[in-house]
Structure formats: C-alpha cells, structure tokens
C-alpha cells in the first residue's frame, strides 16, 4: 500500500495532490490518502474524502488533531509517522509543493530515513530505482536508494509530469489519533497578510509579457506593462532584473522564481539561461524578441523577432491597439 499525503489549505486540497495520487496508482493500485486536521482546520472530511476517492484513494485517513487549527508542518509529520507505524505502507508520497516537501522532509528526519524529492519515476525494490530532477528539471538523475534505510520510501513527485486522471475508488474515511505535543505546534501559520491586489498573479496568468536585461532598466518595463494590460496578462522578468532591483521578486520567472505555463510567454531581451527556461519552457506558445539571433531563447521559441525591443515593442503595442479599435 502507498500512502499519499494530501496537503490542504484550510480545506482546499492542493491540486498537485491529484497528480501525486495518479502517479502513486501506477506504482501500486492500493493507494490510501491522508489528511491532517479536522473541522477546526477548515476541513470538511466527507467532501475532501470524496475528492480524493475520485482520484483513486481506497481509504482516506484523517487525523483530527484538536489544536491543529492551521497548517503546522511538524505536527502533520508526527501524525504521518504514527500512521506509517500502524498501516505498514511501503511508501509515503506527496506532491513536490512547498508543503509536500516540507512535511515529508520532517517525517524523514524524525524516522532517519532518506527523502527523495522531485521524482519522475519510482520503481520500488532493492534498491529502489528512481529518476529525479536536479537543477529544477534541467538534469535528470538516476539514483539507487538503499532499501534497508528506506524500508518505507519517502518521496515527492515532480509537478506536471503526470496528468491527474480520475479512477473512482471508495475513499472510505478512517479516523486516527496521533500524539502531537505543543512543541510540534510551535511552528504554525498564525496569520495571512497582503490580500491580493486584484491583478492576475504569475501562476494563473494566461499571458505573461516578460523582460530581461535587454529592457535596459526599470523604465523599459513601462511598455511591457502596457502590452500585458492590453492582452489581459501580467509582467514577468529574469533574475538579472530582480537582482538589479528593477522589478519585485514576485515577478521573477525561473528556477528560483515562479514556474509558469501560460498560453503566451513573450520574452523580451531575455537570453534564455537554463535557470530561466526552467520556469517558462512549458508555455503553450513562446515568442522571443532579441537583437541576437543566436541567443539560446531563440531555439526554445515558437516565434521570434530579431530586433531591438525599444523599436519593436512600441510597434507591437500600436498594432494591438489598431487591431482592437
């Protein structure tokens, strides 16, 4: 049996969890899911269990911890450790989300087992044979994981390598109790700040108009904002741009920024470093505007314009406005 940790935020299940369930079913159809936190954490047990059942969870274990009013990674991990002991799971899997990686790393640390993050494929055996991401997926690494040390394999699934597909199963709820101390709840979400500004955020944007060093400076981004606004999109940028303080880090696309997959990614004055491409190569259509026809980004684009952004972009904006009127 494989146990899948279903991360939820006040009752809303992290969508990547459904990919993780689909991935886990391929290893072993006997998949159980686990949810941490009861109604005090905003969880509606029967709705959540039904959703997880839809994606193949035979059983949904729920730890209704009384003090677990919001996400608390160590407490979640303690509950998982308890459950691993009582269910005899051969693997504990989660989506490679910030919370998925965090909670599973805690479980691994508590139980002194290996933790393998960002997996593309898993074959359980002796040793376990795994392919995982390095450099945010720019390199694939094959590893052997010692089966004695990893008597329960703890691993997360690289985002978007498996499409979530349904496979209706019972999703039968079983509640369990776990010993969680006040210390385990010391690190917990106590507040949320910075309500959304109403604009589209990078991960959800259908159109991203992105600028790099070639935009010349903070003022260069004015035209990108105008084009983004005209297309109902938002602005992105490279790390060179955020490091220079031209734009906030929340707009950075790439390995250490946000990973995006919009319908249109318009890359302006961006060279196409591997770490930038790691964040945008899944865009449906990638267009690059660059003075250098040999820039790496040109090989990863669907359409290119060889030219100076200072000349091309005002014309593009004008054409958009003309086409609209």
């Amino acid at each position: 049996m494989i146990l899948v940790y279903a991360d939820h935020d006040r009752g809303v299940i992290e969508p990547l969890t459904f990919q993780a369930l689909t991935f886990a079913r391929d290893i072993d159809p006997d998949v159980h899911a686990v949810l941490i936190g009861g109604s005090s954490a905003g969880l509606n047990a029967s709705t959540a269990a039904a959703e997880l059942g839809e994606y193949g969870a035979q059983v949904v274990h729920i730890a209704g911890l009384s003090d677990y009013s919001d996400y608390a990674p160590l407490a979640a991990a303690r509950a998982l450790v308890t459950l691993l002991g009582s269910t005899g799971a051969q693997a504990l899997i989660a989506a490679s989300s910030p919370r998925g990686n965090e909670v599973l790393a805690h479980v691994a640390a508590i139980t002194d087992r290996p933790f393998v993050a960002d997996c593309y494929s898993i074959a359980i055996g002796a040793p376990h044979k795994i392919v995982r991401a390095r450099w945010a997926g720019n390199l694939h690494e094959e590893v052997d994981v010692d089966a004695e040390a990893a008597d329960v394999l703890i691993a997360t699934v690289f985002p978007h390598i498996t499409e979530a597909t349904t496979a209706p199963a019972a999703g039968a709820i079983t509640e369990f109790t776990a010993a969680v101390s006040q210390d385990d709840l010391a690190v917990q979400v106590i507040n949320r700040v910075g309500a959304s500004t109403g604009g589209v955020t990078l991960p959800e944007a259908k159109v991203i108009v992105s600028g790099g060093r070639g935009m010349g400076g903070p003022d260069g981004f004015g035209i990108l904002e105008s084009i983004a606004a005209a297309l109902g999109g938002t602005v992105g940028c490279t790390r060179v741009v955020t490091s220079a303080g031209w734009r906030p880090h929340s707009e950075q696309v790439g390995q250490t920024g946000t990973k995006v997959a919009p319908d249109l990614y318009l890359a302006c004055g961006i060279s196409g470093a591997t770490q930038h491409l790691a964040g945008c190569k899944n865009s449906k259509t990638l267009v690059a505007i660059n003075t250098d026809p040999d820039a790496t980004i040109m090989n990863h684009a669907d359409y290119i314009i060889v030219g100076d952004v200072n000349q091309v972009l005002p014309m593009v904006l004008q054409e958009i406005q003309d086409a609209k009127s």
Binding site: A105, N138, A195, T296, I304
Partner: protein, 251 residues
C-alpha cells in the same frame, strides 16, 4: 546574535549542461562556480541582522577545497569566519550533508541563536537539509522564508503563497531556510575583499556517513529544437506577431 549560515558552491551553468564522459557529473572544466542563490540571500539576511543586533556570522560549507572561493566572497560581504568540511570532490547525499553540518554546528565553540540556509540547493534540490539540521540540533525550523524580522529573540517569518503571505513566528534558537527574493544581496566592496583575506577559513574533518542514495547516472533531457518561425522585423514583424496573438486566442 550569533548566526551560522550554511552555504554550497555550485557550478555556474549557462545555456547548456555539459556532462563528463561517464555521465556522473557536470563537466566543470570550462565553467565557473557560484554560491547557490538562496544562500546568497541567507548571508545577506545574516549581515543585516548583525548590523541591527550585533554579534557575528560563521559560514559552514561541505564541499571541495575550491569552495573556499565562495566562502571568501561571503566573508567579504560581512561574515566573520568560515568552516569548511572538505569532501574529496564527490558530492554526498542530502542526509549525509545535513548530518555533517549539524555536527559541525553543534561542536563549534559558538552557541548559535540562528542557523540560516537556503530551502533547497540549486543543484540537488533536496528540500531537506535545513529540516534535518533542525531535528539533529533539537530546534524549530521554518522553511521557504521570504520575509524575516527578529525582535526580542522571536523571528517573524513570511512565506509567499500565491498573492498572499503566510506568517509564522518562532522563538530562537531556531533554524530558518530562506528563498531568493528575501532581499537583494549586496556585492562585496573592495575594503570588504581586503578584510576577507585575513578572515579565518578553518578546515574541519568529520566522518561522512555512508550514503543511502547513490547516483548511477545523469542525463540532459532532450528538448526539441522548436524550429522557431521568424516573424520578420520592424512593422512587418509587429503585424505578424499580432496575427499570432489572434491565432492562439490571446486577443
């Protein structure tokens, strides 16, 4: 405030990944090296904290002898001393790295109020070193931190989730793993570099635990050359681009 910062040297990969002939490592013979980005932010955060609270910064790194280059760079930015646990060039797995770092921090003469590091390293991306160190030292840990403030021995940490930020509070001593975007790291100044030459980089030898995760090979995933369509230049290019926008349904 006494701060330990764990840092890692990684190859400075540009537009392509070149592997060694045995496909077991990145061919670093023609490329430089850098500090893993999140850790640049960790050092910068430490320097800012010391500016306000006083105290000192010790860097810890597990890696090759060449990692001294990255340590000197961070000493130039404001760290006070460094401890390098040398490995013989081969990379060790996350579990072993964390064990070695925790031991080094624990046996150091300084009692650290805070251990800072990156949430994941640029190369191996294991998402666990900070958490394992925290467990080994018996301290609380907050990860993915993009906003940090410390007052009265209490750290208030912010973590970005979509458009909002989650807030966590933790009592020191603690371990905090940070992300790029926490701050904009400064560049070393010339006087900083001169001072850094005299700052100690101590070598520490610690027995590295047997690995549990062993690499058998590396490969560069094939990305299809998309054979981009050249839309032309000037007005003609702009017109053609707007046609593409219509075609793909974004206009």
């Amino acid at each position: 405030m006494e701060i330990a910062v764990c840092v890692k040297r990684v190859p400075l990969v540009g537009s392509t990944f070149m592997l060694t002939d045995d496909a077991m490592a990145i061919d670093t013979s023609r490329i430089g090296a850098t500090l893993s980005p999140h850790e640049e932010n960790a050092v910068e955060a430490a320097v800012r904290l010391i500016e306000v609270h006083g105290g000192s910064i010790t860097l810890f790194s597990v890696g090759s002898a060449q990692a001294e280059e990255q340590l000197r760079e961070q000493l130039a930015i404001g760290a006070d001393r460094a401890v390098l646990i040398e490995t013989e060039g081969t990379e060790i797995d996350s579990q072993a790295t964390a064990a070695v770092l925790a031991q080094a921090i624990d046996q150091d003469a300084t009692d650290f109020d805070l251990v800072l590091l990156g949430t994941e390293s640029a190369d191996s991306g294991g998402y666990q070193t900070g958490i394992r160190i925290a467990h080994a030292l018996g301290r609380p840990v907050v990860t993915n931190v993009k906003g940090l403030d410390i007052t009265d021995n209490k750290a208030t940490c912010e973590r970005a989730v979509g458009a909002i930020r989650e807030v966590y509070e933790v009592q020191l001593p603690a371990v905090i793993s940070v992300l790029d975007g926490l701050n904009i790291p400064r560049y070393p100044s010339v006087p900083g570099r001169i001072k850094a030459r005299k700052k100690p980089v101590d070598r520490l030898s610690i027995t590295i635990p047997e690995p549990t995760t062993i690499r058998t090979s590396l490969r560069v995933p094939q990305s299809a050359d998309k054979g981009a369509i050249n839309l032309g230049s000037g007005q003609q290019g702009a017109k053609a681009l707007v046609e593409v926008f219509k075609q793909i349904g974004v206009m």
